[in-house]
């Protein structure tokens, strides 16, 4: 075996001289004392490689169209073997890259590695950072979920606010006047073709320039002998890379990469928030309202990027020691504190995330309602319509509510409507069930009492009260009502509120609920602490 490998190797070397190339690449002598500081670039390169590899496989399953994008990502998450980890590596890998790029840049700045003759290495590095930001920005539109849609709406509106060319710029970014199929198509093309080409070109230039000038090495040159890159530096890089990869893989296995509910352009209640790495920019907008907005969207980011690009020419001394470069250190400290501070402020303002796949009372009621014979008559394997748990909602809520109220709506005159059309609120409950299912939720095992309570909530309470963000806002939020009231009080109140408070606006339900329904809803609410 070993002899065969040697023979093939020799034969190939005779024809290609590949060993010479390998030796050239691996045996580069590095300055003595080149230590752990100099592994940051390799970790970044490894993470970029992971993105390219996982990205290629993701494109096999992803479909860039508003009708299919969300379902295709949902399929990757729930249907495709290894799909969840695959997307996890890609999504969390993006965050890792932003962090690794930041660390790499801090290292280069601290050790003054951008100085002559490495100015262009630095410039290609800054351009790479911009390309990485471009990947991040275009990437999170692709799943076409709520976050994607609304965060991109904000992004294109920011572009629109730039002076003079704003409208045109936003139009080009959207491929029209609204966010839609054309937007998704071009952002996809940028994400999978344009930016990767730029990435490869810039990474190769960056590496070639790094080889040309060698690594900068320790600030005070070590008197020792230079040592070859392989294996004395590669061992350090290997260990660091393995640690980072283990962390990324653990994250990708442990936590499903976030996927919101499907994008709903008509939903006015969604509060868009960007990914954490754009949060500082987003937060800054809050301090420059109205006509000052371009200061936050253009002037400050422009100054930062411009300053970064020009850094090697702004700091031209040969001094590399950080303590002896107070101006540069001060500038980066301000930048770092600014970014971290704004990000923290932004995180504080983040709205509580409502998990779209969580089965709330309405969805549980809908699950029970969907088992009705009038649904199962058509929604059955081999039946006229897909089984309920495989149905994918691609209609607007009004259509669906009308359909469950009277299924004949889908095919008027073709067949008699099944008996027992549903009320609007029952329809809404089924819609909640389907939406929750579509967002990746798994139906819980609900007890009879829980189902009964959910049904009461979904058909009565929900018009005025809300639980976990779902329902009306006229009455108090009942998500944690068990903290304030016990079961006995709730029973008295629901039976007839006027007994407790003569001015209560809530109607009495003592006569409208059966004793079982009353017990169920009282116990359910009392448990909500």
């Amino acid at each position: 075996m070993a002899r065969l490998a040697r023979f093939v190797g020799d034969w190939l070397h005779d024809r290609t001289r590949f060993r010479t190339l390998l030796r050239h690449l691996l045996e580069e002598p590095l300055p003595a004392g080149t230590g752990w500081w100099f592994i940051t670039g390799s970790v970044l390169l490894f993470l970029l490689g992971i993105q390219v590899a996982t990205g290629i496989v993701l494109t096999m399953y992803y479909v860039p169209s508003p009708q299919a994008a969300y379902d295709s990502v949902r399929y990757i998450m729930d249907g495709l073997p290894f799909g969840r980890v695959l997307r996890g590596l890609h999504v969390f890998g993006a965050s890792f890259i932003v962090i690794a790029a930041g660390v790499h840049m801090v290292r280069v700045v601290l050790l003054g590695s951008y100085k002559k003759p490495r100015e262009m290495t630095w410039v290609t590095g800054v351009l790479l950072l911009l390309v990485i930001m471009g990947f991040a920005l275009t990437g999170y539109l692709l799943p076409w979920d709520q976050k994607a849609y609304w965060a991109t709406t904000v992004t294109t509106n920011i572009a629109r606010s730039s002076p003079l060319v704003g409208e045109y710029l936003a139009g080009v970014m959207r491929g029209g006047s609204t966010l839609g199929a054309l937007t998704l198509g071009r952002w996809y093309a940028v994400h999978v073709f344009l930016l990767p080409l730029a990435l490869v070109a810039l990474v190769l230039s960056h590496l070639a320039l790094m080889r040309l000038h060698n690594v900068s090495g320790p600030i005070t040159p070590d008197p020792g002998e230079p040592r070859p890159f392989y294996p004395f530096h590669v061992i350090k890089e290997t260990i660091a890379t393995a640690v980072v990869f283990a962390a990324l893989l653990t994250l990708a296995i442990a936590i499903p990469a976030p996927l919101d509910a499907v994008a709903d352009p008509s939903d006015a209640t969604y509060v868009p928030r960007p990914e954490w790495y754009f949060l500082s920019l987003f937060q800054m907008l809050k301090y420059f309202p109205g006509p000052l907005e371009p200061v936050a969207t253009l002037v400050i980011p422009g100054l930062v990027v411009g300053g970064l690009l020009l850094l090697p020419w702004l700091d031209r001394t040969e001094e590399r020691h950080p303590a002896k470069r107070p101006l540069v250190m001060g500038g980066f400290a301000v930048l770092g504190i600014g970014i971290v501070g704004l990000t923290l402020l932004g995180l504080r303002d983040l709205p509580a995330r409502v998990d779209p796949s969580h089965f709330g009372p309405r969805a549980i009621a809908g699950l029970a309602l969907a088992q009705a014979p009038s649904c199962l008559r058509c929604h059955t394997p081999g039946g006229a319509a897909s089984p309920m748990d495989e149905t994918r909602i691609r209609r607007d809520p009004e259509w669906l509510v009308a359909h469950v109220a009277d299924p004949e709506v889908i095919a008027p005159g073709l067949r008699p409507a099944p008996p027992g059309g549903m009320s609007r609120l029952q329809g809404r409950a089924i819609l909640a069930y389907l939406t929750t299912l579509g967002a990746g939720g798994h139906p819980p095992q609900a007890s009879d009492e829980q189902q009964r309570a959910s049904m009461v909530f979904a058909t009565r309470c929900v018009t005025c009260h809300r639980i976990d963000g779902d329902g009306g806002a006229t009455g108090p939020d009942l998500s944690h009502v068990g903290q304030r009231r016990d079961a006995a009080w709730l029973r008295t109140w629901i039976t007839d509120p006027s007994v407790v408070d003569a001015d209560a606006e809530m109607p009495a339900f003592g006569e409208r609920l059966t004793p079982e329904e009353m017990t169920a809803i009282v116990n359910d609410l009392a448990r909500r602490k």
């Binding site: 996982t54 249907g79 073997p81 294996p231």
Partner: protein
């Protein structure tokens, strides 16, 4: 070339030790990534699709030894999409409470066959394959009888597994 340093015996030892660790760690990472990526690429090719029992008609309505074509509507996951397949199967009553379900796809090259009541045979329009009412080949090129599908009888309903 760092030949001076590598000639040092201790360095040589460390060199091969490091090389081994690098190979092992890179191999392990590569294998992990390979399993995830390869799995995601290859697994769908080998996934078995779930077969569903579909109601195909009532036993009462069938005549003995006369294939009745039934169109079955099968919803099938095709990646992210859902596809509705319409498949025609023949239900053949073979005795009291015994039913055979035959695929209507010719075993020669996959054309759709049809029942000829006059000739009392199932014929394929493409290359002249002929089967009897039980799906056995009686003439022409088909290499095998029509595929039999699993059936079960639930009351009066005939269920076919697709």
């Amino acid at each position: 070339m760092a030949s001076d340093t590598t000639r040092n015996a201790g360095d040589l030892n460390r060199r091969s030790f490091f090389s081994r660790i690098i190979t092992v760690v890179h191999g392990a990472m590569g294998a992990t990534i390979g399993v995830i990526l390869g799995g995601a690429v290859l697994a769908p090719a080998f996934l078995k699709k779930k077969n569903a029992w579909l109601p195909a008609g009532s036993l009462e309505a069938l005549e003995e030894n006369v294939p009745a074509p039934v169109t079955l509507r099968v919803t099938r996951g095709d990646g992210y999409a859902q596809v509705v397949d319409r498949q025609v199967v023949y239900l053949v009553k073979t005795g009291e409470n015994a039913v055979v379900a035959l695929s209507s796809t010719c075993t020669h090259l996959g054309c759709r066959t049809s029942w000829d009541p006059a000739a009392k045979s199932i014929k394929c329009p493409c290359h002249g394959g002929v089967y009897d009412a039980q799906g056995r080949v009686t003439a022409g090129p088909p290499p095998a009888p029509l595929v039999r599908l699993d059936t079960k009888i639930d009351g009066d309903q005939v269920l076919v597994q697709l």
